[in-house]
């Protein structure tokens, strides 16, 4: 514990700005993955244990597209779209067959997907480390804000994540499709009786969740190493975020992701032994005190 240093940081503009931005950077990518996980759970009622796979696929698709085209925009799109399409395929051919069956079946189907995709990625891309790289403009010197430093690429990444989060929020709350999706989460049979193709919608929502994971993977590809199996640690972290925020709640995912990000950023200053164990302890605590999470509505 080093509370003096922590207090010193919070009261110094440069340190405060840098660490807050750090928390947001760590948190926002986590949010993108976790929101997809939460969306799928909220609407379909299944836990996509294979979510990390789509993060990994997004990263590798973006990497491949960047190698071929050299266009950063195309790389992002390829990552998002590739993960989304494979998500839909996975939902239609595999996940949809275990809806309503017990949890074990869903878990095993996802486990199989992880095993298969990790191996396929190793076969196609090799086992060595990869990085996507980024355009020169992003790699410029970090921007100075009130004495604190924020790298250009992270500003872009934050803007993207916030933008996607806003679009997601507006889409779900303000558009007709979003209203239908929220209704689907609550009463799918009624939605079907109103003339809406629920199967198609399930696939679309699952695909959308995977697009979010894939986008996070693509955004991470320039700064995080690509290896087969890279989805695992992200899955575990976003899983913690989802549980803390409330399974099915996208605002909850945002709050929890930023909370974890800020805790890590300021924890690094004040109590540097904040480790995984504490994250799991926090998750356990939330589950004990409020199983539905900070902002969740479903009761346990």
């Amino acid at each position: 514990m080093n509370l003096d240093v922590l207090a010193g940081c919070v009261t110094t503009a440069s340190c405060f700005v840098t660490q807050v931005s750090t928390g947001l950077i760590v948190g926002m990518l986590l949010f993108l993955v976790a929101s997809g996980l939460s969306l799928i759970f909220g609407v379909l009622g299944v836990v996509n244990f294979a979510h990390g796979v789509f993060y990994m696929l997004g990263a590798y698709f973006a990497f491949a597209a960047y190698e071929v085209t050299g266009s950063f925009i195309l790389a992002l799109l390829a990552g998002a779209a590739g993960a989304g399409l494979l998500g839909i395929v996975f939902e239609r051919f595999f996940m949809s067959r275990v809806y309503g069956r017990d949890l074990l079946m869903q878990l095993l189907v996802c486990y199989a997907a992880i095993l298969i995709c990790d191996d396929l990625v190793k076969i196609v891309f090799g086992a060595d480390y990869k990085l996507m790289g980024m355009p020169e403009s992003f790699a410029a010197a970090p921007v100075e804000v009130m004495g604190g430093f924020i790298p250009g690429y992270y500003i872009f990444m934050l803007a993207m994540a916030l933008g996607i989060g806003a679009v997601l929020w507006l889409g779900i709350n303000r558009t007709r499709l979003g209203k239908i999706i929220r209704a689907l989460a609550i009463n799918p049979q009624m939605v079907g009786a109103l003339g809406i193709n629920t199967r198609l919608l399930y696939a679309a929502v699952f695909g959308m969740g995977c697009v979010l994971a894939g986008t996070a993977g693509a955004l991470a590809a320039p700064v995080r190493t690509l290896t087969p199996g890279m989805g695992l640690s992200v899955l575990i972290e976003s899983f913690i975020v989802t549980v803390i925020g409330g399974m099915g709640s996208i605002p909850g995912a945002l709050v929890a992701a930023v909370l974890i990000g800020l805790t890590r950023a300021f924890g690094a200053i004040g109590f540097p032994l904040f480790t995984d164990g504490l994250m799991f302890a926090l998750m356990g605590l939330v589950l004990i005190l409020r199983p539905s999470g900070l902002l969740g509505t479903r009761t346990a």
Partner: protein, 339 residues
């Protein structure tokens, strides 16, 4: 005393004789190695199935007790102060206490939340093992081997004796679990699984029953961990990682959750599969994944459950020609007892 007890004891004895005879008939060390693996993981899977198949509690964190058994036992033996049976008892007792504390918190949660919190506890224990390097050796595990001093004239340093010892412990544990499986307690657990509201209405203390089976499952898992630690002469953090829990889940799924010995069959099949797939290809993830999909989406249940259902169907079709199976005759009562 239960009426089927004599039959169970008989079958148990037969199993033990078969297990002990196999390495004599095929005297090759790798068969013994293989069977010890089936024993250790089979026991882990069987203990998990007390929660999953019998009580309907899907635990994602069962490997924590496997690891706890292995580590407590290994540490005590490395300490050098106690003999193997004492260390075993202490490891089992310590794990029971751990399971009691964790279980008291977990069993209050339902469905997916139960799964999550068991997972959280397991990961917490896993990170303690990783972090407490002075005690556990961290990521490198308990190093330097686990001594196996002779006790009561039994020398577990000798591979054949070790195998025999594991086989006896295994069959004893199976008999204990069989008792639970067929006891009134077992039927209460089935009722909790199928209709918790009804159980509550009938005055069953659901939380207490769940806690009881949780601790029992933890105890059995710790015995599996001890066998593993004895065999590999070490304990490793991976014993308590979620992948170990995942494998145990896969074993019971592969074998079947409703036939008593299903999980052992699953453990056997998975070990066999792993063994050959690892030999034939380096893309074992690909192969294993496809096998999982084939079983989950094709058979839609474990092999033993599938066979049991098929047998029952066939028997129903040709009722006069009822041929009782020699060993594994799944009682119809075992499949979804209480509607």
């Amino acid at each position: 005393m239960r009426t089927g007890l004599a039959r169970d004891l008989g079958i148990g004895l037969l199993c033990l004789v078969a297990l002990l005879a196999l390495p004599v008939l095929f005297p090759h060390p790798s068969l013994r190695d293989f069977l010890i693996y089936v024993i250790a993981y089979g026991l882990l899977a069987m203990s998990l199935n007390l929660l999953v198949g019998l009580t309907g509690l899907v635990s994602f964190g069962h490997a924590a007790y496997f690891a706890s058994g292995a580590y407590v036992f290994g540490l005590l033996m490395q300490g050098g102060a106690v003999s193997i049976p004492v260390a075993m008892l202490a490891a089992v007792g310590g794990t029971a206490l751990l399971a009691l504390v964790i279980g008291a918190i977990c069993v209050r949660l339902k469905e997916i939340y139960f799964s999550f919190i068991t997972l959280a506890f397991q990961m917490f224990i896993h990170s303690i093992i990783l972090t407490w390097v002075e005690l556990t050796g961290g990521d490198q595990g308990l190093r330097g081997g686990i001594p196996r001093p002779p006790f009561l004239g039994i020398d577990l340093g000798e591979a054949g004796t070790l195998y025999g010892f594991c086989a006896v412990v295994f069959v004893l544990c199976l008999l204990v679990m069989r008792q639970v499986w067929q006891s009134p307690f077992g039927y209460t657990l089935r009722m909790i699984r199928d209709n918790p509201a009804r159980a509550n209405f009938l005055g069953v203390d659901v939380v207490r029953m769940k806690l009881g089976v949780f601790v029992l499952a933890g105890i059995m898992a710790s015995v599996a961990g001890i066998i593993m630690a004895l065999f590999v002469s070490g304990a490793f953090p991976e014993f308590g990682f979620w992948t170990t829990s995942g494998e145990a889940i896969f074993m019971i799924m592969l074998g079947g959750t409703q036939v008593f010995l299903g999980p052992v069959i699953g453990a056997f099949l998975l070990q066999l599969l792993n063994h050959y797939v690892t030999i034939w290809t380096h893309h074992h993830g690909l192969v294993l994944g496809i096998v999982i999909l084939a079983i989950v989406l094709g058979l839609r249940r474990g092999v033993a459950d599938y066979a049991a259902a098929w047998l029952a169907e066939r028997r129903a079709a040709s009722r006069p020609a009822a041929v009782p199976g020699p060993a594994e005759t799944p009682a119809p009562a075992e499949t979804k007892a209480v509607g």
